[in-house]
Symmetry: C2
Subunit: 414 residues, 2 copies
């Protein structure tokens, strides 16, 4: 029942959406309001207001109810308008190499929830999108509408997305034109169209590690800072910069490639084609290899992390070396960029202080004294959902003009 929506609407449609945004913003700010209170606060005429509210109620964004205290009074009880807590305003989807993660916020900008599911590396895009739809469905069980899958028309029905504004999508690797509707990454041909057809709203795409950086700066470990350096230590090593509260992307989208900063010019060959990159020393595989070379016994990153938690000496020694190399690279970036907070995420960050202490020590050692006390190092707090949450942040923070609401359902298709 979602009507078709188009990113390029005329001025009247834009004006209507702007009014809708004002009404939603007032409900976000003040909680439930009567139509009269809404009229005073919004400055909209009675006719316009009733029309806008009717549309929002039809789309499921706003619900009308009578508070208990009002219902007990004499006379006709006053109806109050409130945001529908089951109405998703923005959805984030992270298409990682072997997993899909989703998250959604409602119109009150509360995170409704997040969910994830692993899959084979060679799964097709339509199948990955199916996983995303199923996961989103699982987040909104209490929502009105049919319970599952698609209605055959190619549009999502299961989740209550009547008030959906846009979808923020994270993908692996560098993207051109990141953060926009025309964004593109290698090997994802067809994905944006697939999602647009499925959900009927604009699709904004960016690198998923960069989205995790944005999420940590908005909801995570650095929610108090607007200048954030996020480093992810996982199967790959990368990150992102948030500058003045906005994602920094760089020319051609090539920024946050911290994993390819040279640490040891005489070191090992990296997947990127050069030698001695931080990634060859600090990725999960590299750490596991170094652990075995130091006499440790572990077959998987999880086993290594267990050993580190158990304070196994070779594991701690490897983490001390890795931390020192990471800290040196972070110091170089700090001198260039000057972040207020450094957030370390990815699986390796689960090693906690065994990693973060040597990171911080090397960082301070390589920072000019003047800068030493102007930056905090923290562990990421959002975990695997980070990039999906970043997709939401992308929608909410970077697309103020994409206020995209469906038209009221006409009698024809109601």
């Amino acid at each position: 029942m979602l009507s078709g929506m188009h990113p390029h609407d005329g001025p009247l449609t834009r004006l209507r959406r702007s009014h809708e945004q004002s009404v939603l913003e007032l409900l976000r700010k003040y909680g439930p309001l009567s139509r009269a209170e809404m009229g005073t606060r919004s400055g909209l005429s009675r006719t316009t207001l009733y029309d806008i509210v009717a549309g929002l109620v039809t789309s499921g964004a706003v619900v009308v109810g009578t508070p208990y205290v009002e219902a007990r009074k004499r006379g006709r009880p006053v109806e109050k308008l409130s945001l529908n807590p089951a109405a998703g305003e923005a959805v984030g989807i992270d298409f990682a190499r072997r997993a899909v993660h989703v998250a959604a916020v409602n119109l009150a900008h509360e995170v409704v929830g997040s969910a994830g599911e692993g899959h084979a590396a060679d799964l097709s895009w339509p199948e990955r999108v199916d996983i995303a739809v199923r996961l989103l469905d699982s987040l909104t069980t209490g929502a009105p509408g049919p319970e599952s899958g698609s209605d055959g028309s190619g549009r999502a029905q299961a989740v209550h997305l009547g008030a959906l504004r846009a979808i923020g999508v994270g993908v692996v690797g560098p993207t051109t034109d990141p953060g926009s509707e025309s964004a593109h990454a290698q090997g994802i041909d067809g994905l944006p169209d697939l999602l647009r057809k499925r959900f009927g709203v604009p699709v904004l795409l960016d690198n998923n590690t960069r989205l995790a950086a944005l999420a940590e700066a908005v909801w995570g470990a650095a929610a108090d800072s607007s200048d954030v350096l996020y480093l992810r230590l996982s199967h790959g090593v990368g990150g992102g910069l948030v500058v003045g509260g906005a994602l920094h992307r760089g020319r051609h989208g090539l920024s946050g490639e911290f994993g390819h900063i040279t640490v040891d010019p005489a070191g090992e060959r990296c997947e990127c084609g050069k030698t001695g990159c931080l990634e060859t020393l600090a990725s999960l595989d590299a750490v596991l290899r170094r652990y075995r070379a130091a006499g440790g016994g572990a077959d998987s990153p999880a086993q290594f992390l267990d050993a580190a938690t158990a304070a196994d000496p070779p594991a701690l020694e490897v983490l001390a070396r890795v931390g020192s190399e990471v800290g040196g690279v972070l110091a170089a970036i700090c001198h260039a960029v000057g972040p207020g907070v450094i957030v370390v995420g990815g699986e390796l960050a689960q090693a906690g202080d065994a990693l973060l202490e040597p990171v911080e020590q090397a960082l301070r050692q390589h920072l000019m004294p003047l800068a030493r006390h102007h930056v905090d190092v923290r562990r990421a707090t959002l975990g695997e959902a980070g990039s999906a949450l970043g997709g939401i942040a992308l929608v909410l923070h970077e697309t103020p003009l994409l206020t995209h609401y469906p038209q009221p359902v006409s009698e024809e298709n109601a």
Copy 2:
């Protein structure tokens, strides 16, 4: 004859200034216009337009003339309004360690000129400001108004600054709140007030190396790019980042400190307090020291640069090593930030290709292959005037709301 001006004016004054800006913008865009043409294009009422134009003529921003072709016609010739090419709109002043540089742009946003003068390192701020006023005077000899110095009231009279909007000032070292009127740097107490009293307009302050970066991105070697990394190799080593056309400053103004990135942890002690900084290897003094150690004979940076120009083998060898170290550091920053153009400035850049070729070679070697062809390396083109020009760019680009014109002179003080 400059009337007092205040940064916090009421809405009517702001409205007036907005009208003044519109009129100036039209003259910038279309060249000389008659009052009738101006009326059509500006959409201002006849009364408002005549009033605004009268004010601009009185302040010296706009001149009225009759073009030759019009004067030859029968009947009353049509007067045309044009920008006064002698009216300075923005002034930049760079207070370097031992020199003052100034530059000015007129209302057509043409650089009127630049000038500089050396002085002793311990010269007082009032004396440095006197030098700045004298240098500005030298730029505007043909301008109306008294020819020299100050009128005793503490306001500049010599230069025709009737239409001056603000002054952008570069100072040495990190600044807090950079680019704003409340900016501050260590050891400059009293300077902003001194300038404000002298010129009667807002004073915007920033680090002078960062301003040079902005200038190269606006008028210099990287005028075609909005993502620029500027490195200055001089007595110190520093730089600045321009991101999306705007100066990037970082938390606490601590960015662009490229000279304090560690290159050799076992290296020499740096003035900043740590060891092995790029500055200990690539500053003019460091290069001179390394040149002597390599058997070269030079007593000054100028002699070293002469030797390099004459292709003296030890000089070239030292530049090759310095270039390689610089290129490695630049590659690290590129991975983090992703600039489109790298501009190398400062005295050492005068060595030309003997320096820039090894820089570029090391840069490409340490950049991931994917990023290798997305960045250009160029020599700075603005020379010593760069920071003063950056002060102007600061005024024009970062203070759209500080459109600060004097009130028309009243009969009282005319």
